[in-house]
Symmetry: C2
Subunit: 385 residues, 2 copies
């Protein structure tokens, strides 16, 4: 254990940790844990969503909070997406730097520091953001004036999620009036999003919930119309509800994100006409097999989000991912006849929740069949401010 060369300074430059894979590598050689994307399934998901939006005559603005990956946003734009959504101001920067210049920050941005950065980005593209409080309007206007830019402003309305958003049309009208006073701001429309109903399991329940939420959205739109105000855009919807949202005739733009990947939670939804395939996996290797009936894999809490349950082992119905430690996962054999994966062998896991799982990884390894095709940086990972 005596160092073979001087302890620190020189010679460490050769130690950039290698990427998990390179294009052309066999899939089985991916260094684990690593995020995998089945590009064939991904391409089909892209096409299905764009086709459904086109058929409904509704614009598609996919949510980049799910992928945080400029290469994916560019693929969505190339198929016809109008732009993208981000959920945080900082999240938008890598997309802007990748050349995507139509970005809606589908959230309230708090305080003058973030507003100023947003306004600074808006010098280079078409940016919009949500408000639900008068103070935000003034802060945004001031920031845009300082930067010499313009911001589109959506009024977020509460359609049942009870998180952000104004409760009634009078509150929306007060915001609208404040927005109109500032030449740096342009009223962009309403944002009507209900996260909770994305995960109602039965299709008919989800449909009913979408209809109810749409009734509320329509009431806001009509109240504004009664005051002579038309909404340039009504934006919202997610992967779980989008097939019904597209049919309501109230949204002019939809924001699904997870449809490109799917995950364990969305997989538990009853799917219908608009079906998406699982394309996202976490590659993990068996690192220890000293116990009867179980093996230990090298992907735990630091490689997989578990807020929506533990991952499933893809294509291995006899195996169950039973516990997640920080850097270990316990995979148990739940069927007597199930093959016991060998030490070093690779398993594919389906995470319970795709968005926070992406946020744990710096790279996404795209493959077709058993061959790696691309390695994409997850450039907005960790950009949560």
């Amino acid at each position: 254990m005596t160092p073979a060369s001087p302890a620190h300074p020189s010679g460490l430059a050769d130690f950039c940790w290698p990427l998990p894979a390179q294009p052309g590598d066999p899939l089985a050689s991916v260094d684990t844990p690593a995020l995998l994307l089945d590009l064939d399934a991904f391409d089909r998901n892209l096409a299905r969503m764009q086709d459904a939006a086109d058929a409904a005559g509704v614009a598609l603005r996919p949510h980049a909070k799910a992928h945080k990956c400029p290469a994916i946003a560019l693929a969505q734009m190339a198929r016809g997406a109008r732009g993208i959504c981000c959920q945080k101001a900082s999240e938008a920067l890598p997309f802007l730097q990748a050349g995507i210049t139509d970005i809606h920050v589908s959230n309230e941005v708090v305080g003058p520091v973030k507003a100023r950065r947003l306004a600074s980005m808006a010098r280079h593209g078409r940016f919009s953001v949500c408000v639900d409080d008068l103070s935000q309007v003034d802060i945004l206007a001031h920031a845009a004036a300082e930067e010499g830019s313009r911001l589109g402003v959506f009024i977020e309305i509460n359609i049942g999620q009870d998180r952000c958003g104004v409760n009634d049309a009078p509150a929306a009208l007060r915001l609208l009036e404040a927005i109109s006073r500032h030449p740096q701001l342009a009223f962009a429309g309403l944002q009507a999003y209900h996260g909770g109903l994305q995960h109602l399991r039965s299709r008919s329940e989800r449909q009913l919930a979408v209809v109810r939420a749409s009734v509320q959205t329509t009431a806001f739109v009509q109240s504004l119309a009664g005051r002579g105000v038309s909404c340039p855009t009504v934006t919202g919807a997610g992967t779980g509800s989008v097939e019904f949202d597209l049919a309501q005739g109230i949204y002019t733009e939809v924001q699904p994100g997870s449809y490109i990947f799917m995950d364990g939670d969305y997989g538990r939804n009853e799917q219908g006409g608009l079906r998406f395939e699982q394309s996202l996996f976490v590659a993990t290797a068996v690192m220890s097999d000293r116990r009867e009936g179980q093996v230990v894999v090298d992907a735990g809490l630091k490689s997989l989000a578990v807020d929506s349950g533990l991952p499933a082992v893809w294509g291995e119905p006899g195996l169950r991912y039973a516990a997640a430690n920080d850097e270990h996962g316990i995979v148990q054999r739940i069927e007597a006849g199930a093959p016991r994966p060998a030490l070093g062998s690779l398993l594919r896991l389906v995470a319970g929740h795709c968005d926070p799982t992406l946020n744990l990884h710096d790279h996404l390894v795209g493959y077709r069949g058993d061959r790696v095709e691309c390695v994409w940086p997850v450039s907005s990972r960790g950009m949560s401010r």
Copy 2:
């Protein structure tokens, strides 16, 4: 919303997203969400652990999987730590590059690719790693031979966690024999770690569990001694068990990690003679307050690990963090008289589990009183391979 300057190429260099704070900033101005470290509490935690290890005559090798931050490792070394532990080979690289040259990878490393990288790092420092399977010994020896380095090898023994590690002394002896055949490998001793007992809530229960685990460890040590083999080092222990592990007389080295920070889960342990203080927080800002009895904060699943429960709101017993969405948290007022935090105000959250929370952030903002003192990179964040 017309871009004020050409869409993409030039002018975007000014868009590096700023750090969450700079030394000298008032604490209240930290850009959220951000990881905060109370340096006074942190310093006391550092001292208490080192003093306890010194008093017991046991070496301290803190676990860097908790912090992933070279600046913290250097502070631990400066106080007397022997070296550090890492849990993954890649995790070790930023520490080596920061000049820390005594690193134990307290885990099995699977496959020739990772073994080769580990052996490559071992050219620049004193590295050790665990094994629990004969195949790993051969792979490590081959990698070290290829790199012209030497590796210390610990045999991991199962003392009740039933995860990795050999079950009995004959299996340990077979590994020892294999290790001895390779001049590139040096038998370093036994690793005896039991994660589950760290979180037993009652102190007496934890103490009893430590005694039981120590009996098992002692049996391994004696079996080896009976064959004329002495263990240079017996390493293990964690923050929850360390006060008892130090007293057993069997460990020659302890590996606690979380003691520097503490978290919601460790906070639920009954503490005793060796007490650690909460020093780690996630700063979050109130971003929306449109609902009665609750506010929305800007730290959700992408800023806080929730595997060990939702965070607590520090110093605000009347407030409860009730739900985590990807980028939002719902904070409810649970006492009628509790003050309602104003829009834009900053709250400090105590995450349920520190290790995976660190893994979500690129920077750690150290402060004393109401003033930022340092901003440290979390350099091994995401290095899970």
